[in-house]
């Protein structure tokens, strides 16, 4: 058995142990959906980081920097700054006014059934698209990392899918939280170690390091060797649309993160708004340090391993593992690969629990059954079934798409929907008294539709070559629709509000929501074990 497979199995054993332990403590709804709201600030901060830093950031951004230098690093910046929106605007009011899902806050003073139905549709869209992207990536990656152990794409997808279902169905939020914490600690230690080894390679001299980065050699498309300064902007984002693309991407990240359902539900696991606040700060310390270190990972791979070698050995997603191999040999390669595997599992588990909670709590209990459980524990039972179904669907779709599918656009889509549909209505319902049910439904719908349509008529799907699904020049020039879809989401919310007329009940309850959101009076409390 090779070392990589052994470390994978070790991680699986540890996380299944956590799940078995958590299963004994998940006997009530508050424990299953919100870990009894007893997670501490640092634990939740680490878990948020673990929930957020996907394989797309660990492997994807390292690869983008290895191939496009500075332009790849621009992604890193947005992933951290986005947490200021979470910290300053969303986390505390959400914790104070909600119970299990994002829709709780929206339904608080608006008509619950239409608002929850739409909010849940948007949550399920974001979570499943994001999950399918992770699963396809996971399958391809695991098969690549375990090359030689006869594990195919299909086996890898099914394995990852079954594990995430087991964590969520049996261990609920407690298991999900601890899987995310273990993963975040592993990811941080692996990244620090890799960064130190990169700097050791350059004799701990930043001058030498940046000197090498300013002269990266690789083979150009015409087969000739080129030398590029990887600190110069413009290697990826080129005219005529490069600048707009950057701004649009920035908008999706900065506003979208505060609307990602799997991140938002994490704030229900802490005892109060103050703890939620400190947990965001913990998350920002970890996430920021991680993304600064992507400099060493990406530039290290570009200078030490080289673009040509990475292209021949699995492509840009393999940059970080190949760097580990070059610096620390086979054992370190196995360690970094195991971290990538842990990273994928923690993120898909987070997505599964947020999707299944939204279905059980929003759709089943509140939309279909008017807000009451017909039998004690029904909501939990439905959530477990939903987690199973969501997992099975994700496995099926990922296998159907196959390892070669280009799924990067699904991540862009998830962020665009979160930014254009979820965030406008969350912000308006907390801060605007006049906001009403029609505004929320219309805002969610227009943000959702605009994001999907703009992605589908954009360069991710349309293009005049073999890799594109629709063979036609793109109608919308940008891969990231945020710059247009976010204003459409807000406009839809405003338009709906004015069209819907005054809603006296919603306006009357605004004071109540304002008091709750800002003081924590009447907020859901932590429960005993």
């Amino acid at each position: 058995m090779n070392t990589t497979l052994f470390l994978f199995l070790a991680f699986i054993a540890i996380t299944l142990g956590i799940t078995a332990w958590a299963a004994r403590h998940s006997g009530s709804s508050a424990s299953y959906f919100a870990a009894n709201r007893r997670i501490t600030a640092w634990q939740n901060g680490v878990a948020v980081a673990g929930d957020y830093m996907s394989a797309a950031s660990f492997l994807g951004i390292a690869g983008l920097i290895a191939f496009f230098g500075y332009d790849g690093f621009l992604y890193s910046v947005g992933w951290l700054v986005a947490y200021l929106t979470v910290l300053l605007i969303v986390a505390e009011p959400l914790r104070n006014a909600g119970k299990y899902t994002m829709a709780d806050v929206l339904a608080y003073r608006l008509s619950p059934r239409p608002v929850r139905a739409m909010a849940s549709l948007s949550t399920l869209t974001v979570s499943t698209f994001y999950m399918i992207a992770q699963m396809v990536g996971a399958g391809a990656l695991v098969a690549l990392l375990l090359k030689g152990s006869n594990i195919s794409f299909h086996t890898a997808v099914i394995g990852v899918g079954i594990l995430m279902i087991v964590y969520v169905v049996f261990g609920g939020m407690i298991a999900t939280t601890w899987v995310q914490i273990v993963k975040a600690i592993l990811l941080m230690s692996g990244t620090v170690l890799l960064s130190v080894l990169v700097m050791a390679h350059f004799h701990f001299s930043f001058g030498e390091f940046f000197g090498a980065v300013s002269q990266v050699h690789y083979t150009g498309p015409d087969g000739k060797e080129v030398v590029k300064d990887f600190l110069t902007p413009g290697l990826r984002f080129k005219p005529p649309y490069g600048a707009l693309e950057l701004i649009s991407l920035g908008m999706a990240l900065i506003f979208g993160t505060a609307g990602l359902p799997h991140i938002l539900v994490r704030f229900y696991t802490v005892p109060d708004a103050k703890t939620a606040r400190y947990s965001v700060v913990w998350a920002m310390v970890l996430i920021g340090s991680f993304y600064i270190m992507t400099t060493f990972l990406g530039f290290g791979a570009a200078t030490i391993v080289g673009r040509d070698f990475i292209t021949k050995n699995g492509g840009n997603n393999m940059s970080a593992p190949l760097l580990a191999n070059a610096l620390g040999g086979a054992v370190f390669f196995a360690f970094i690969s195991a971290i990538a595997f842990a990273t994928i599992l923690a993120v898909v588990a987070g997505l599964t629990i947020s999707a299944s909670t939204s279905f059980a709590h929003d759709v089943w209990t509140n939309v279909i059954h008017n807000g009451t459980e017909r039998a004690p524990g029904e909501e939990r039972r439905v959530a477990r079934i939903a987690a199973f179904v969501v997992g099975a669907v994700a496995i099926g779709v990922a296998i159907l798409l196959g390892p070669k599918a280009n799924v990067a656009f699904l991540v862009a889509l998830a962020f665009a929907v979160a930014a254009s549909a979820n965030v406008p209505v969350i912000v308006l319902s907390i801060f605007w008294k006049r906001f009403n049910t029609a505004g929320a439904v219309c805002g969610l719908a227009s943000g959702l539709v605009a994001s999907i349509v703009l992605i589908f008529i954009g360069p991710s799907i349309m293009g005049n070559d073999a890799v594109h699904i629709i063979k036609h020049a793109p109608i919308f020039p940008l891969e990231n629709p945020g710059i247009l879809s976010i204003p459409i989401g807000f406009a839809g919310a405003l338009f709906g509000t004015f069209l819907g007329g005054r809603e006296p009940l919603a306006e009357a309850k605004f004071t109540e929501l304002e008091v709750r959101a800002n003081t924590g009076l009447g907020a859901e409390k932590a429960t005993a074990h």
């Binding site: 200021l84 608080y108 940046f210 600190l231 950057l246």
Partner: protein
């Protein structure tokens, strides 16, 4: 678990939310929050979007080398991390004042015996 304030149903409970809203402490709390959050949000959004705008539209200027091979573009991107951390730190510090107002509101409610607030 003895909080008697549940999401307002009867009109009597609604007036309790209104009573908090009318307290000076609550008004001061909102003022203090808006006073920090609005300028901080405007600043971080402006500072962040300056990066893609400058890099996207003025790449030659941003490629100016400042320290050896290290250019303005890289330093400005790096500064974003420290600016974000600084704003987070300032917010946490400012929020201590918000928490104080919150506690004073809770105390007043307890003293007036209108609600039992458990810890």
């Amino acid at each position: 678990m003895s909080t008697t304030l549940t999401p307002g149903v009867s009109s009597e409970k609604k007036t309790q939310w209104d009573r908090v809203a009318e307290m000076d402490e609550f008004r001061l709390l909102l003022l203090a929050k808006v006073g920090f959050v609005v300028p901080a949000t405007v600043f971080f959004i402006a500072y962040y979007f300056a990066l893609p705008v400058l890099v996207g539209y003025f790449p030659d200027f941003m490629s100016l080398k400042v320290w050896g091979p290290v250019n303005l573009a890289y330093l400005f991107a790096l500064s974003q991390f420290f600016v974000a951390w600084t704003i987070a730190y300032l917010y946490v510090r400012a929020a201590r004042e918000f928490d104080e107002y919150g506690e004073r509101i809770m105390r007043r409610l307890e003293e007036e015996g209108k609600v039992k607030v458990d810890e």
